[in-house]
Amino acid sequence: MPTDLFGFLSRRRFLRLGLAGLGVVLLGGTSGLLLLRGKAPHVEGLRVLDDHEYRTLCSLAAVLLPQGPVFPQGALELDLPRAFDRFLAEEPDYLRQDLRQALVLVELGPVLFDRRAVTFSRLPPDERLAHFQAWSESETLLRRQVALAFRKFMCLVFYDQPTVWPHIGYPGPSFARLSR
């Protein structure tokens, strides 16, 4: 889906974020951050994302569109993170780079914005939702942009899945039904 959606992550903004990150690193040390982030499980067959970025995306997908009593399959069960990785593979380099950096930012969100010694993927699930909700409603434009971009992609692809349609009362494409 998106292309210019991530054009907002300009070099200048990333420099600012980089400085914020640098402050964190100076306070906690690179090894401290790596320790906080922990080791992500290895995933075979990814085209763009690394294991850490993929783990962040999976955590985000589960927050945005969770599995539950009404939706027996959430974004994670429908393999949307891998769809996102495939989408990225066909996008220009600058966009791929922006999105990967955005995932790093999300992962470090609790450290950078809540001053907590825990990264996004290691938050308990209910706290992840509250934390990401704060991104959507943030006074900081960049956080709202990141939240909007991931939400748009995940929602568009999730509700386009035939297995989801019975749960929202959508009968599916009308042309195929008429043709039958």
């Binding site: 959606l5 969770p66 009404v70 939702l129 909700q133 042309f175």
Partner: protein, 512 residues
């Protein structure tokens, strides 16, 4: 080059260049297709370049993911630089007319008065354009849908409008044989839309015009008054990556790639004056959702037929056309979900109400603004800089209030402005909440389906990028022919104004 009309898919049949033609038209939407047909019928040798593919019939699958990916620029993800406004435009043979809502609204006469008075377009009179507008309406088979074609989403808006005693109308449309499939914004598999792919393109092919699909025009070089070189790259089947190189030489070039892509091409080519890509209009639209106890099923039937026109000003002293209108709109689940503000289980609960949700768009005419600028970064990334001003926010407060009133009058249980966090209205007593409508960037799903004014026409290069003939100032033989030329909003919907202009400027071009 031969004058045998055809559609050639460059992803499958790479052409060996260089090619040489009289006219190269860049863009196959309503403007490009109409101009190509006129030139072809006049015996000219014409080649049309289109970045998108040719998709008709069952290839239009009605699925959000695939169709936004394949029919829209930037795979449906284009937006302004700060993510405030999703910028939707077509990338398919037939252009935006394949994926629009099929509303037919001609240029308002008062707008032509403004164009004459403010922009020096002295010969753009109602009389001078009458023949062209008639030809546009004939191309579109314009008619007013009868009541049986109005779905519940549209009749609810009409019910509310009638209860309030407001002015409203069923809009003209360009469908013939519509079966109410409900996915006009993803193309019509039944070909019921009389769009550029169905009307002028086949006629242009009969006139000997060749259409190259999956052909991206990278730049235009001015080699002389009667000689231009166009550098083209073919794209792969899905349109993701550039493949082969092709050079075309043409005596004249007509750029009709849509307001954003036309200006982008000119900026990339270093052609045109300082007005190219500046002061453009996006005519932003705000979606509104209303929840009803009864099923609405906005995904069935024609998505957009009824408009509340009570607040449109058709004799505005400065702009000619101003105010706002409210139009019903339906959508497939993916796109509707992207516009709802909640996440997690709360968002899923909202989507469970999908068959009960009515949708409308608040359409605002726009004015040229100094701070809207298109730029291209060194890595090739297009940046569309455009921000709402205070007047627009005030006008949106008025249009949201009107939408709340009309939906509550129609019996809505709740009217939702999809801002994050959302604004919910269950009674008129909630109207003071409107003060919380900020429209700050990336917190509300504004969309632009009507971009224009990126390469404005006007009487002088001091104030405009193109002459009243559509010829680019400083680049003889390079013409622009699409909504890029509009100096202000001509109408709430731009397909008919684009077609009118295309007929008009094609006539002027052929009479030179």
């Amino acid at each position: 080059m031969s004058r045998l009309g055809a559609i050639v898919d460059l992803s499958k049949e790479p052409l060996a260049g260089p090619l040489s033609v009289e006219y190269c038209v860049i863009g196959s939407g309503p403007a490009g297709a109409t101009a190509a047909r006129a030139l072809g019928r006049a015996g000219k040798e014409v080649l049309v370049l289109e970045e998108g593919a040719d998709r008709v019939g069952p290839a239009l699958t009605q699925r959000d993911g695939e169709m936004y990916d394949q029919l829209y620029m930037d795979r449906g993800g284009r937006s302004t630089a700060d993510l405030s406004i999703a910028v939707l435009s077509g990338r398919v043979l037939g252009g935006g007319s394949v994926i629009n809502a099929s509303d037919v609204v001609p240029i308002h006469p008062s707008v032509l008065d403004v164009w004459q008075r403010r922009f020096g377009l002295a010969d753009y009179t109602v009389q001078a354009l009458a023949e062209d507008e008639a030809a546009a309406l004939a191309d579109l088979s314009a008619s007013r849908p009868d009541d049986s074609l109005l779905n519940r989403n549209n009749t609810l808006l009409r019910d509310g409008c009638h209860k309030l005693g407001w002015r409203g109308e069923v809009m003209l449309h360009n469908r013939v044989g519509c079966a109410g499939l409900g996915t006009c914004l993803l193309g019509c598999p039944l070909s019921a839309k009389r769009n550029a792919r169905i009307v002028p393109i086949p006629q242009a092919i009969e006139g000997g015009v060749r259409f190259l699909t999956r052909a991206r025009a990278l730049r235009i070089e001015q080699l002389g008054a009667d000689r231009k070189r166009i550098t083209v790259r073919s794209l792969d089947e899905r349109g993701y990556h550039e493949q082969h190189h092709l050079t075309i030489e043409a005596k004249r070039v007509i750029i009709a790639a849509g307001a954003i892509a036309s200006a982008q091409l000119l900026r990339r080519s270093g052609l045109g004056n300082q007005h190219v890509g500046r002061g453009f209009l996006l005519q932003p639209q705000l979606p509104i959702a209303a929840s009803f106890a009864e099923p609405v099923r906005c995904f069935e039937g024609i998505p957009q037929t009824y408009a509340v026109t009570q607040f449109e000003e058709l004799q505005h002293p400065v702009h000619g056309f101003w105010g706002f209108r409210i139009e019903a709109i339906g959508g497939t689940p993916g796109i509707v979900a992207t516009m709802l503000p909640a996440i997690g289980a709360a968002g899923q609960r909202l989507m469970q109400r999908y068959p009960h949700i009515a949708g409308a768009l608040l359409l605002h005419p726009d004015a040229p603004r100094d701070d809207s600028i298109l730029s291209i970064e060194r890595n090739g990334r297009l940046q569309i800089h455009y921000q709402l001003d205070a007047e627009q926010v005030t006008r949106f407060r008025q249009s949201v209030e009107a939408a709340v009133r009309v939906y509550l009058a129609a019996g809505a249980e709740e009217v939702l402005v999809p801002q994050t966090p959302p604004l919910s209205f269950r009674s008129l007593g909630d109207l003071p909440k409107l003060a919380g409508l900020t429209l700050r960037p990336a917190s509300v799903p504004l969309i632009s389906a009507h971009q224009m004014g990126t390469v404005k026409m006007g009487a002088s290069p001091a104030t405009a990028a193109c002459s009243p003939d559509g010829e680019l100032y400083g680049a003889p033989g390079v013409f622009v022919l699409d909504s890029s030329l509009f100096p202000s909003s001509p109408s709430s919907h731009i397909m008919t104004p684009i077609l009118t202009l295309a007929h008009h400027l094609s006539r002027r071009l052929l009479s030179r």
